[in-house]
Symmetry: C2
Subunit: 234 residues, 2 copies
DNA sequence: CGCAAACTTGATGTTGCTCAAGCTAGGTGG
DNA sequence: CCACCTAGCTTGAGCAACATCAAGTTTGCG
């Protein structure tokens, strides 16, 4: 019940942040560690699928997940990438509304939903924490809607790179997800993502150290491109 | 703080629902009416703008609002339409992350954020209510991401019509928003929305009683079209 | 009844998709 | 250790869906 995918720490004032947080996770909260259990998933493994009935809430302790929804013909929309500190729960009806899969090796902390609900009542400030986290998720979702509905391919890719760079705090960005994952998150095709990255590289805005390791060369330019102020040939 | 746009009642099991609820609003909750004040907005009036600093939380009592975000060049994404029973608050940082405007005449109930926070601590079950509501909003946001990122124009329009029809519970749907609003919600242009509606009309899936009053003639067909199973000429 | 905003329709244009083909890298087994 | 093998990445050519630009038409209100 409750939040479907929320971060578990309050502080994150970075406007570009997609719901990420790097403080201590829920497990660090009083009373919580005692009622949880740890588990691990290998890359590609499914945590649960859209439509599954479950009664668990998970917290990501380490690694990265993708959450996605599918259309009947297989079109996929990745609604978010979750890293350490994020919670993923379930619809109030107890039916999962998205599939969750490990991208990297992932360590998770699992709670029974009933236990989780009890914590809300018993642990002071816990509910507020969750509400704040949910609020951040909602904002991230709205940013993503603006991206999906109104941004061009270049703007989408630039926004995405800045977002994950912001999470990692540096100009060398590690990209654990595939181009296909990125495409399905941005509402593009793999080919368009590739071509766009190539153009950014050619324009000396970024460098590709390896396909999954990107260096941001001109952050200012990238930021302009992300909101459509980049009329320098794009 | 807390939820940015949440409905205030728990029950809504309709999977197509975009966070709407028709139970009693927050104002009906114990203790709450006493600390709130009512106000009214005319169609087109702005409640607050993206970037504004505020310390209020609103509940929609009557009428409909649009929430949107803008890009620097004016491109607009409407992240949601809010009707009676919905809450709209603010980013935890106290800065609005979207603009809220009245579509119809709107009656609102306003709370100080500090008051609102106190209620979370003092009123039993209030926090859980808000969390459930936030969870529904998050689900609606994820559905919208799937729509924006992966659906075709026809699928988008069909999904939208079913969504507002679901909120109104009948086959005659009142569409208070303009075509331009619909376009900016679905990530399309006005012209594409018009043409798509025209085609649905020609195919006897819907009828246009007036431009803002639509009758669903073949709901089954519309539902198939909404998820991409409509290979009947579309 | 007139006016302005909203809606509709048509002709043309462009972005990003599709289909097709190579390329690269990292992991595995001989 | 190296060479193969496969998943993922990249690039190209052509195309289609939707956008843009440009008129008209309807609607509802003053």
């Amino acid at each position: 019940m409750y939040a479907q995918a929320v971060s578990t720490t309050a502080a994150n004032t970075d406007p570009a942040s997609h719901g990420v947080c790097r403080g201590p996770g829920l497990r660090a909260v009083n009373h919580v560690a005692a009622v949880s259990s740890l588990q691990t998933k290998a890359p590609g493994e499914t945590l649960f699928s859209e439509g599954d009935e479950t009664d668990c809430v998970f917290e990501v302790v380490r690694g990265m997940l993708r959450l996605y929804k599918l259309l009947p013909d297989g079109r996929r929309q990745i609604t978010g990438f979750l890293s350490a500190g994020h919670l993923l729960g379930f619809a109030p009806e107890g039916v999962c509304i998205y599939t969750a899969e490990a991208i990297t090796e992932v360590t998770l902390c699992r709670y029974k939903r009933t236990t989780f609900e009890r914590l809300i009542d018993e642990v002071p400030g816990f509910a507020k924490r969750l509400l704040t986290a949910a609020s951040h998720e909602l904002r991230a979702a709205q940013d993503q809607m603006l991206l999906l509905g109104r941004k061009t391919a270049t703007e989408k890719v630039a926004s995405f790179l800045l977002l994950i760079a912001g999470q990692q705090g540096g100009d060398r960005v590690d990209v654990p997800m595939t181009r296909s994952d990125i495409a399905d998150h941005l509402g593009l095709t793999v080919e368009t993502v590739c071509r766009t990255i190539t153009r950014l590289k050619q324009d000396r805005v970024i460098e590709l150290l390896t396909p999954s390791r990107i260096k941001i060369v001109d952050r200012g330019q990238l930021e302009e491109l992300a909101v459509g102020e980049g009329d320098t040939g794009f």
